[in-house]
């Protein structure tokens, strides 16, 4: 199962990539929204972990673009959120995200169960 992490923060990119690889997932990373959209076309991930606040297309723009393509709109997207971003999560869900991951604290069981719930086997 291939997961694409679209995240401009090198700390979180490195951390989540490592943890997911340790769990047996194949992981690709992108540093911003624009790069993420290119990689979605090339890598065809089974699930996307998407940050919201990023340079060169933010998470909302990525979600909007994905929803306009019949193929990419089917890829489940989990958005990253941190403390105090409830409105952003709600907006992301309206744009097609299926769930969110709170970046403020680490709960890998929770992340894993959300990935399992949404990734197509």
């Amino acid at each position: 199962m291939k997961i694409l992490i679209v995240e401009d923060d090198p700390f979180f990119q490195h951390f989540y990539a490592r943890k997911l690889k340790e769990s047996g997932y194949e992981v690709e990373t992108a540093n911003n929204g624009e790069e993420g959209l290119k990689m979605i076309d090339e890598a065809k991930p089974d699930l996307i972990l998407l940050d919201i606040i990023m340079p060169k297309k933010d998470g909302f723009e990525v979600l909007q673009t994905l929803s306009q393509n019949q193929l990419t709109k089917k890829i489940p997207v989990l958005v990253f959120s941190t403390l105090g971003e409830k409105a952003d999560v709600e907006k992301a869900m309206k744009l097609g995200a299926v769930d969110y991951v709170n970046k403020s604290f680490f709960d890998f069981d929770n992340l894993n169960s959300k990935i399992s719930a949404h990734i197509k086997k």
């Binding site: 401009d8 090198p10 700390f11 979180f12 606040i53 941190t82 403390l83 680490f106």
Partner: protein, 129 residues
């Protein structure tokens, strides 16, 4: 996070947080109220610093970063006026954040950080929940 994981990622946190602090310091020196792109860069970097710090359990570093993030958000959204007094207060806070991150491994007092949060809150009427 358990102690094993915390230790493994603390060095990564200190390095990436330091890089963000250096970017913030450089960008704050040259920012002006009409430079939206630079304001958004500063906002994103404060947001990243907040996230990493809260994740690693450095609550006060995270909350002060969050205050700076919210100030930039409100300046960009024209809810807050950019002023030299506010800019200088943010620069002072970044200097204190720099010191706090360097001292993060020694668990020194967060009182100075808490005072900075109150100072910025008084200047902006932004409160953290």
């Amino acid at each position: 996070m358990d102690n094993d994981n915390f230790g493994k990622y603390r060095a990564l946190y200190v390095r990436t947080a330091h890089e963000l602090i250096e970017k913030l310091k450089n960008n704050l020196k040259s920012v002006n109220p009409t430079d939206r792109e630079l304001l958004e860069t500063i906002h994103r970097d404060a947001h990243s610093l907040k996230g990493q710090s809260l994740f690693m359990g450095y609550q006060h570093i995270g909350q002060l970063s969050r205050m700076i993030e919210y100030i930039l958000r409100d300046i960009i959204g024209h809810k807050l006026t950019f002023s030299s007094q506010l800019l200088n207060a943010i620069i002072d806070s970044v200097v204190i954040l720099d010191k706090a991150i360097q001292e993060a491994t020694s668990n020194k007092s967060d009182e100075e950080l808490a005072r900075e949060i109150v100072k910025l809150s008084n200047l902006t009427d932004i409160t953290l929940s």
